[in-house]
């Protein structure tokens, strides 16, 4: 099994989100970056489990500047065999997907995996775009996956339930919660990661289709209206007559 896992970085879930340059760019000052949890906990760990039972190789790919390397080393410490960084500053998901598809086109991967979305832009775009650009089958939101021969059995969430699907490989799979358990890298993994190959390749200069013109923070909530626990009827009254939601 030759597996490619797409790795993105994302601000830690406890980060305070602020913007700079008149709200046109995300303020990274003081922000701790992590491997996007869907890429790490689910896609990468499941890829490693498959490699451990079936043999093969797990390659990770990221599209970004040198500032990506700490989180790529983390993915190597968790157990990936080698890493590829496409040296680019992507401005939208299509650029990320195009870079990944351009790299993967002639490498013969059996599986391309990604998290179902990143926790910063929540676009959920890269997996589907890579599948479209590589003309591969695609299953999104997979919560379980097993591979036998050239066929994967995938469980995915759907509206009101789940489905078990069979998909022929090679394929692109996006991973959701449930696919694997988080792995904490051990000291041996961290040491080994330092000497694992991290190849930097040039951008294929894909087109940019969208641009973020500005950001906005949600308006501050007014202060909460507290209701006496002995007077619960008042809450119902307010929800009915003031907020008009019931």
């Amino acid at each position: 099994m030759n597996i490619l896992v797409c790795i993105s970085k994302a601000p830690d879930t406890t980060s305070k989100i602020t913007f700079k340059e008149s709200n046109t760019s995300f303020n990274e000052d003081g922000v701790q970056f992590i491997v996007n949890p869907y890429d790490e906990w689910y896609a990468l760990v499941r890829a490693l489990e498959l490699k451990e039972t079936q043999g093969g190789k797990v390659t990770i790919i990221s599209v970004g500047g040198a500032d990506y390397e700490p989180i790529m080393r983390k993915a190597l410490a968790i157990g990936a065999d080698e890493a590829v960084r496409v040296d680019a500053q992507p401005l939208d998901a299509f650029q990320v997907a195009s870079e990944i598809a351009a790299y993967a086109a002639d490498k013969g991967f059996d599986l391309v995996m990604a998290g179902k979305e990143t926790i910063d832009y929540n676009g959920a775009q890269v997996g589907g775009m890579v599948a479209a650009l590589m003309h591969l089958p695609y299953v999104s939101n997979a919560t379980k996956m097993d591979v036998a021969g050239s066929e994967a059995t995938v469980e995915r969430d759907k509206q009101g339930g789940t489905e078990v699907l069979s998909v022929s490989l090679p394929a692109v799979i996006s991973a959701a919660k449930g696919m694997a358990e988080q792995r904490i890298p051990n000291m041996r993994g961290i040491m080994a990661a330092r000497s694992k190959p991290l190849q930097v390749i040039p951008s294929s200069a894909p087109a940019q289709l969208t641009e973020t013109v500005r950001y906005e923070l949600p308006p501050e909530k007014g202060s909460v209206k507290l209701i006496d626990p002995e007077n619960v009827n008042e809450l119902v009254n307010l929800l009915h007559n003031e907020a008009k939601v019931i």
């Binding site: 775009q125 589907g128 939101n141 009101g160 919660k177 013109v213 809450l235 929800l239």
Partner: protein
């Protein structure tokens, strides 16, 4: 501009979110002097109702099933070509989220996911969307002639029109399926879909044990609300994972979110801060959730919730 709306269907119906997407697409088509068409597939019992939401034409591919996202993307491609669509609208639900990026990459059409408002149409085409798991908004400009938007449910109001859409059978060639279905597992429950629910009652560790959820379900039942939970409660198996709302669960934007015994960690707030009205019931007056709430009760859930159930019952009785 000509607009094409994709409506997912499941179990013989299009979802409620499709009415919203149809209204959204029809509104943009009208404002920009174009025509709105909708494409859907499979058996759809509520096609006549769907036809009332401002769309001019519905293309119905009855023989297509939902299993292979690539075939659904090909269906949308074919419909976009036959209608000359400039803008494609999907609901930001499981199917929409899956096939919209496929369609976008095939057509090299710039895409915005999770839109929460109408695009600006004078000058640049800019759409407001949720980012950082609801902690911020981004205004994203689409630079290409062809455009793709996924619309977050409960973002715009639905509006009916006087004329009904014409329904036409549609049967393009979609190629062979590369994905096949082995098994479907439908969840039990009362059928209120959490992402589309207008009212949601949610509870967390403050309830102390899974057997205490009866009063939460009672409250949800009286209100006609869906039930949800916080992450710790789903992680220990007190509640099913599909009820987990938050940064790593699902994000919802109901009209009313009632949080019982949930402290309001930043990761939980990320999944619910698009709610129009938030009510927090917690014993701890310092719980961070109160800062994000519109109404709050500092009190014991075991005391407050049964009273709330009774008060809602009383209101409903007075209305009937």
């Amino acid at each position: 501009m000509n607009v094409l709306v994709f409506a997912d269907s499941d179990n013989g119906k299009v979802a409620k979110a499709a009415y919203e997407a149809a209204s959204y697409g029809a509104n943009i088509a009208t404002k920009s002097g174009g025509k709105a068409t909708l494409v859907t597939y499979g058996q759809v019992d509520n096609l006549n109702e769907l036809a009332q939401y401002g769309i001019s034409d519905i293309l119905h591919a009855e023989s297509v099933d939902h299993v292979d996202p690539m075939q659904l993307a090909a269906l949308v491609d074919a419909a976009a070509q036959s209608t000359g669509a400039d803008l494609l609208i999907f609901s930001h639900d499981y199917t929409g989220k899956t096939i919209a990026p496929v369609v976008s990459a095939r057509m090299k059409a710039g895409m915005v996911t999770g839109a929460i408002d109408y695009p600006a149409l004078d000058g640049d085409f800019v759409v407001k969307t949720n980012v950082f798991s609801g902690k911020a908004f981004a205004h994203v400009k689409i630079n290409t002639d062809k455009k793709v938007i996924t619309l977050l449910p409960n973002s715009v109001s639905k509006s009916k029109s006087e004329a009904n859409a014409n329904v036409t059978a549609f049967a393009p060639d979609l190629g062979n399926a590369s994905v096949s279905i082995k098994e479907t597992k439908i969840k039990g429950g009362d059928g209120i879909n959490l992402t589309e629910a207008e009212l949601v009652v949610s509870a967390g560790r403050g309830l102390k044990a899974p057997e205490n959820w009866g009063m939460i379900e009672d409250l949800a039942h009286e209100l006609g609300a869906a039930t949800a939970c916080s992450r710790p409660v789903a992680d220990v198996g007190w509640r099913p994972h599909h009820e987990h709302v938050g940064q790593t669960g699902i994000a919802i934007r109901p009209d009313l979110y009632i949080a019982v015994g949930i402290s309001g960690a930043i990761q939980h707030l990320a999944g619910v801060n698009g709610s129009k009205v938030i009510v927090v019931i917690n014993t701890d007056p310092e719980a961070p959730f109160f800062k994000a709430a519109d109404y709050g009760i500092v009190g014991d859930a075991f005391d407050v919730v049964p009273k709330l159930v009774a008060a809602v019952k009383e209101l409903k009785a007075s209305q009937s």
